[in-house]
């Protein structure tokens, strides 16, 4: 038997959130997400949570599970100690149960102009980018915008204008792309008051990232580039 202690809040019914417990027999290999579906389909069909791909690539199901921000789909029940406490992402308004309002998170992302600003007009075929140049951006590509880093970041908790690890990582992805011509503008933008220098280098984002990305390192690189004007 396993016990899930799930954060519950229904804006139509509750003034305050509460925890509700559910017990069931997990099968071998069952994930937290499969457990939540088990509850939804068998024990309590009023439960709200997000999910889609169930293979750690869509970013829907980041939540706080036994003290760590992680993807519910990628987390096996058997590695955790029961009761398993499940809360929504932090620093974001709760809509219902485990579903939070990600608007601030996505707004910050859009602020950094998250699209290629071409350096030159496109050639007839592809831009030529060497294997080495492509390697330079390889570590910044896999963000699935799940929000685990944002939820874990104490600066995001205090400063709702702070761009956040996800947006800054994306900024570096373009600064480092040999095809992008917006480096100067991008660096200027991320060095403003709510940008890279608000980061306290606490490494939470790096610790929780379910795709093993390192936003702390990305932010440090942006700081270096800003200080030494290397871009």
């Amino acid at each position: 038997m396993v016990e899930f202690r799930v954060f519950r809040f229904d804006p139509e019914k509750n003034k305050e959130p509460e925890f509700q417990s559910y017990e069931f027999d997990p099968y071998k290999g069952m994930t937290i997400l499969e457990g939540l579906y088990y509850i939804l389909e068998n024990l309590d069909s009023s439960l709200a949570f997000r999910s889609s791909c169930r293979e750690a690539v869509c970013g829907s199901c980041a939540m706080h599970i036994n003290g760590i921000y992680r993807l519910a789909c990628k987390t096996q029940i058997e590695i955790l100690k029961s009761p398993i406490t499940i809360r929504p992402l932090s620093h974001l308004p709760v809509i219902k149960d485990l579903v939070v309002d990600l608007t601030p998170f996505f707004n910050h992302f859009k602020e950094i102009k998250p699209y290629l600003i071409p350096k030159e007009s496109p050639p007839e075929k592809e831009y030529i980018q060497s294997v080495k140049e492509r390697e330079k951006i390889n570590d910044w590509l896999d963000c699935i915008l799940c929000g685990a880093c944002y939820g874990s970041c104490p600066v995001c908790a205090q400063d709702d204008k702070y761009l956040g690890p996800h947006a800054l990582l994306k900024a570096l992805r373009f600064v480092d792309d040999s095809r992008d011509g917006g480096a100067k503008e991008r660096i200027a933008f991320v060095t403003q008051n709510s940008g890279v220098f608000r980061c306290h280098t606490i490494f939470n984002c790096r610790e929780v990232c379910p795709k093993d990305l390192d936003p702390t390192k990305a932010i440090a690189k942006l700081k270096l580039k800003a200080v030494f004007k290397k871009f």
Partner: protein, 566 residues
């Protein structure tokens, strides 16, 4: 009531690509998406996207025509050749466009877009970005949508279409975060809602890929085409059915049975081996398992161990992550246990080569549409291509169509449609008995695997159809919906299960009728292709008593049907 000139339903690759096109034409466009665009199933595509770029030595001889021929042959000659020609002829330019927008493709030593071999093609034609091609393409088109400031109604679920005088004039949608029903008027609606994988228990598809993707237009009279053609991917991870990209075999991976034998030599030529087309490789794997040469857990092995750590880390890092996280196996050292899994539906909403359906003002693109470029079997790497090529075309067609139309909401039709959905929800809230909806969902998904799987025969399929109809009867006696208005997954499930049942029924009736074997539709009781009687597309039209079938000819422009051998 809201209004947009063009309304696109679905925020995956096809929908977002269509949106860019309409925005660039200066028309008022919005996207309505059940989930945030970056959560779309397009992002799970792994291996790549086909185009005859001839960027690598072994693919030097490639051409648009070869790509076209391979696609038609792969389709077992059911593809409409004018549509496949567009798909393959436009492939290079759409890929360059994605690259110009910043898609981080992997590179050749010369700095060009890298290409790898895929099944059903004799040479490396599949452009890739490691094994995350879908994710990076999705990022790229979404980024361009941000750049174009396209309005996206995120987490709004479309529940029904509004029609007037046989024309589509908008949708009824639910803001899932508040539960409010809202009608949105439009002069053109494009469905880009993806596949219906979840009607099968063994699918590689996301949880969000349900029958709702195609049933909404089906319910208001738009026919579904070629629903009997379901693709089973040869390699889905044991138990979870998470996709293991064809790129694994493209990079040199082997398939082995319990005796360690590379069994593909029994089914295709030594030259082709693991890189046969998906229908044939999937059936070969299932035959090994059925004849007792699988492992005790009902799998065979996808063996990458001989590729070495460097190649796996560089080209297949996502596959390795999935194996380690979901079944605790590191493919650098151990083979991957796999089975075939339902992956893609070749059929879907009937459209012409511009995405236009038989209903004026209503278009479709991507997996939900059947154009038909894939015929009876799609080649790996052609579905990402389809989303961008035909997303763009549908966008262009819709943009042109709305040019001279009044920007006015058809209030009466939208109010009627809104009322219809309010009534449906009220009925669901009242309930009709005590049936558990999720039991119905699970039973359907299991019977589809059993009765409409890789090998089909009349008796089984007829039993299957009876079972589907019994489930439809039980659905009428369903328990009331739980919970309030906000983010009500239970209510959405009611809609989706109803849609799953109707989509499954359309597939079942179409499959029983087609008395031949073609591509993915393999019948043990009619195991030959029959061009004389069956070189035609199936159309299933909704009636309350069940789907009504009719047929339409296949467009053949260049390649005469021939024996399909690999």
């Amino acid at each position: 009531m809201l209004f947009h000139e063009v309304l696109i339903i679905g925020g995956g690759l096809a929908g977002l690509r269509a949106a860019i096109e309409v925005a660039e034409m200066g028309r008022d466009v919005a996207v309505v998406s059940k989930i945030h665009p970056m959560r779309s199933h397009s992002g799970e595509a792994q291996g790549g996207i086909n185009a005859s770029l001839a960027n690598v030595e072994k693919g030097k001889e490639d051409s648009k025509e070869k790509h076209w021929y391979d696609t038609v042959k792969g389709s077992d000659f059911l593809a409409d050749q004018d549509a496949s020609e567009i798909l393959t002829a436009q492939a290079p330019e759409v890929i360059f466009e994605m690259e110009h927008w910043g898609c981080p493709f992997s590179r050749t030593p010369e700095g060009k877009i890298a290409q790898r071999p895929f099944g059903g093609a004799g040479l490396p034609r599949t452009c890739y970005a490691a094994d995350k091609t879908g994710l990076y393409l999705l990022q790229t088109v979404w980024e361009q949508n941000i750049k174009h400031n396209v309005k996206v109604y995120e987490e709004w679920v479309v529940l029904g279409l509004a029609t007037e005088d046989g024309k589509c004039c908008g949708v009824v949608s639910m803001d899932f975060l508040s539960g409010e029903l809202i009608a949105i008027g439009a002069n053109a609606v494009i469905f880009a809602t993806g596949g219906i994988g979840r009607i099968y228990a063994n699918t590689t598809n996301a949880i969000t890929n349900t029958g709702l993707a195609i049933s909404i237009p089906y319910w208001v009279g738009v026919p579904l085409k070629d629903m009997e053609f379901i693709q089973f991917h040869p390699t889905s991870l044991a138990r979870t059915h998470i996709l293991m990209t064809e790129g694994c075999r493209g990079e040199g991976g082997y398939l082995r049975n319990k005796d360690g034998e590379r069994f593909m030599s029994r089914y295709v030529s030594e030259k082709v081996m693991e890189l046969g087309p998906r229908d044939i490789v999937a059936r070969s794997i299932q035959t090994e398992i059925n004849e007792g040469r699988g492992f005790p857990d009902g799998t065979v092995h996808l063996d990458l161990t001989h590729l070495g750590a460097k190649k796996i880390l560089e080209r297949l890092p996502g596959i390795r992550d999935i194996c380690m996280n979901f079944i605790g196996i590191d493919p650098i050292y151990e083979p991957i246990p796999i089975t075939p899994g339902m992956h893609y539906i070749m059929g879907g909403i009937e459209t012409d080569k511009d995405g236009q359906t038989p209903m004026e003002g209503f278009l479709a693109a991507g997996e939900c549409a059947c154009i038909s470029t894939h015929g009876a079997n799609r080649l790996g790497g052609n579905s990402l291509l389809e989303t961008v090529v035909f997303g763009e075309r549908a966008g262009k067609k819709a943009g042109e169509y709305v040019k001279d139309k009044d920007k006015k909401t058809k209030t009466k039709a939208l109010e009627d449609a809104l009322k219809r959905e309010q009534d449906t929800i009220e009925k669901f809230r009242k309930g009709g008995g005590e049936e558990n909806p999720y039991k119905i969902k699970d039973e359907l998904a299991k019977l589809m695997v059993k009765r409409f799987g890789l090998f089909r025969q009349e008796k089984d399929m007829k039993t299957g159809l009876e079972e589907i109809r019994k489930l439809k009867e039980r659905f009428k006696k369903i328990r009331p919906v739980f919970g309030g208005k906000v983010f009500n997954l239970d209510l959405l499930s009611f809609y989706e299960i109803k849609a799953n049942l109707d989509a499954a029924e359309a597939e079942a009736v179409s499959a029983i009728a087609r008395k031949e074997t073609r591509g993915s539709h393999y019948r043990t009781d009619f195991n030959k292709r029959d061009d004389e009687n069956w070189l035609k597309h199936t159309l299933a039209t909704y009636t309350p008593e069940g789907p009504k079938l009719s047929y339409k000819p296949v467009t053949i422009t260049k390649f005469q049907p021939e024996v399909r051998k690999y």
